[in-house]
């Protein structure tokens, strides 16, 4: 039997290991600030696999001055990062397998058919918050390591598995691994690409815009200026900016993507009293940054668009909306064309799945931006799960895709790190 066949057989015979691990991980509600229990599941699994563990709380003083630090969380205590190392015998290329444990909030629970943190398997899909983004990918990585361990394959290069916190809020977890000294010849991140390969990824930044109004009694609302109405003007102007920005994009890796670098308004809040005209509304959103763009220029472009509102609106002229950049700022990444990391993954994909992979630029940022820009580590994003259901209610993962990825990852480790003949 070839190694590919042995990997394939082992994964197929041990699917239940993966399913049980996934269910355990989904059951732990690892929203921001509550990552500990899901990390405990990871730690238990890594111990079982005989990996060398480095479990550490992020010290805010060690990350806060880094140029890519962008985070409004000040305390990471007891919510550790986990790094688990499978030391190679030497002489091979090393790889970082980076996966985040944090999940976004579940949204309105009434939109979920089943409770978001009680995983259910229906017709080959496992449902729950974090199945696609990205605990399914984490399971694929760990299954790949488990397969090689059980098949008694010894690698030459080091495998550095990282289960990090804070990806959804700006990447401080991964930044901390870089600053702790973790490096490798390449990195793979199993974010939900729906089995596409993403050698380039979009960056993104969070903004908050505060829009002023003039309060008045609702019974004479014509004496006030509604900050809700004014916020809508701001949102319309952001829609125009999104169009302008996307019309400029010509990278063929974005072919067929409706809006390559979207501006998303994710949150709105303002006003305090039904009978008062609201005098302050805040909107929070995310702007996508193309791999070729500089974050500072994008910030300037958005500021100018908002300032332009004052040109034909005297209220905005006197009361320009406040713009803040806060929380997450994901760096883009840009693997050079023809890089050996992409070639190795492409051929591993072909070996195991017997088709050509689709290669695109990602519609979102990942921690790959931090690995690339802060760690200078070549990165490729490839994983099970689909963006359509990430961050949505009734998020799910196709279990078959999770197993396919496990097989490709195992083969990738064999190809990239090399097999040792020592025992």
């Amino acid at each position: 039997m070839t190694i590919q066949e042995r990997i394939n057989n082992w994964v197929r015979q041990n699917q239940n290991n993966g399913i049980q691990l996934l269910k355990k991980l989904i059951g732990e509600e690892s929203v921001r600030g509550n990552e500990q229990k899901a990390q405990a599941v990871i730690i238990e699994k890594c111990r079982e696999l005989g990996l060398t563990l480095d479990i550490f709380d992020i010290d805010v003083n060690e990350v806060k001055d880094h140029e890519f630090f962008s985070c409004d969380r000040k305390d990471f205590q007891d919510q550790p990062n986990v790094v688990a190392i499978w030391k190679g015998s030497g002489g091979g290329k090393s790889i970082i397998l980076n996966s985040h444990i944090d999940v976004v909030p579940e949204g309105d629970r009434s939109n979920w058919t089943n409770p978001p943190f009680s995983p259910e398997i229906i017709n080959g899909k496992c449902y729950g918050r974090g199945t696609t983004d990205m605990k399914g990918g984490t399971v694929s990585l760990l299954l790949a390591i488990e397969a090689l361990k059980h098949l008694q394959i010894r690698l030459k290069g080091d495998v550095i598995f990282q289960s990090v916190i804070e990806e959804e809020s700006g990447g401080t977890g991964t930044l901390a691994t870089v600053l702790r000294g973790y490096k490798a010849d390449g990195a793979l991140i199993p974010e939900p690409t729906n089995l596409k390969l993403f050698p380039k990824q979009q960056g993104s930044m969070w903004f908050r815009i505060k829009v002023k109004g003039k309060s008045a009694h609702g019974g004479t609302r014509y004496e006030g200026v509604s900050a809700i109405e004014k916020a809508y003007k701001v949102i319309e102007s952001l829609e125009e900016l999104e169009k302008t920005r996307n019309d400029r994009i010509s990278d063929p890796l974005y072919n067929g993507i409706p809006i390559p670098v979207p501006i998303n308004i994710g949150k709105i809040y303002g006003g305090e009293w039904p009978s008062s005209v609201p005098d302050l509304v805040s909107v929070e959103g995310r702007i996508g940054v193309a791999p070729s763009e500089q974050g500072d220029k994008v910030k300037k472009e958005l500021r100018e668009k908002i300032d332009a509102l004052g040109e034909d609106d005297s209220w905005f002229k006197k009361n320009p909306p406040e713009l803040e950049w806060f929380g997450g700022h994901w760096q883009s990444s840009d693997l050079p064309e023809g890089h050996e990391l992409l070639l190795a993954l492409t051929s591993s994909y072909q070996d195991m799945l017997h088709t050509q992979p689709i290669i695109q630029a990602s519609p979102w940022g990942t921690d790959g931006g931090i690995l690339w820009k802060a760690g200078h580590i070549p990165v490729v994003i490839f994983g099970p799960g689909t963006t359509e259901v990430a961050h949505d209610s009734d998020e799910y993962i196709e279990l078959e895709n999770m197993f396919q990825c496990a097989e490709v990852y195992a083969q990738m480790l064999v190809k990239w790190c090399g097999i040792s003949t020592e025992h």
Copy 2:
């Protein structure tokens, strides 16, 4: 000296009493649930005036089944209503002087030039939350009583001064006074009419509309449906409804008022994460009800308008916005034309201010609706302060207007209740 002259003299010589009382009342931040300390100021003043006090906590069980009860507050303990009675010698008409002690929240503090609960007097205006709505009017009422007491005028009819809680949230404070048995031949409420007389008043109701979207990752926002975008469609449709409703109004008391019965959107909130497409946005607002309208028909009209969104929007068809009526529901009031209460107030106004008052319908509801519909007490609204600044930042009252009203109220008590010759 005529009584009018004696009243005028006393008020002019004792303006400082009124200013000190106003400052004390503004200094107590009597937002909902925190009315106690401002009521203590009222109680102290009423004791000083020798009025008979009835200080009582509202028992929710005694009000909750009344048809005009509309309140989401379940506990009124230690935040009392205050009723202070100046018993007449008999044979005159009685009057309720009703004023509310609660104030709306101060909004964004950065919009205030001075802190909202630290009153400042600048150029004859006293600034602070509640100056206009309606602690200034409360001071006018108490000054009027103080003037008559000091002038040793004895009235025939009873004067029932009421300092109630909960006006801003639906009138439960005043409803409790009615259910406790307080009645009178007429009632006067010193809400900020800018010295106009309002024999009719608009009712109003609060609504909450929940608008659904479909969540998705912000990087592929085109795979979701933004509840923020959909909420704006709802708001636009409410603007249309406002227009339709106001085009129907022909009451001459509304002449010159830009929007007689406005629909105000006071609050918006939704979305949880800048990088997610929001799947739920709520808007809260107030709809004005004309004196001639039935609340139930207004509710139906709003429901139908929202349902109509589904006619040409398949998202709304599948996901009709939820509509709730909550919190405040202010009743309208409608004093019959030529009523003696309005005639007495009009002539008192002429006696003291030597001009004709402007008579209109009010742009908002007051507790007068409860007195009228639940207590069957004829009501007129007339007070210092202006709607423009009520509920706004830098709310203020012209002190001169506060004293003018005190004079008119004193004269009104003399005319309405009659003077006793007993001592």
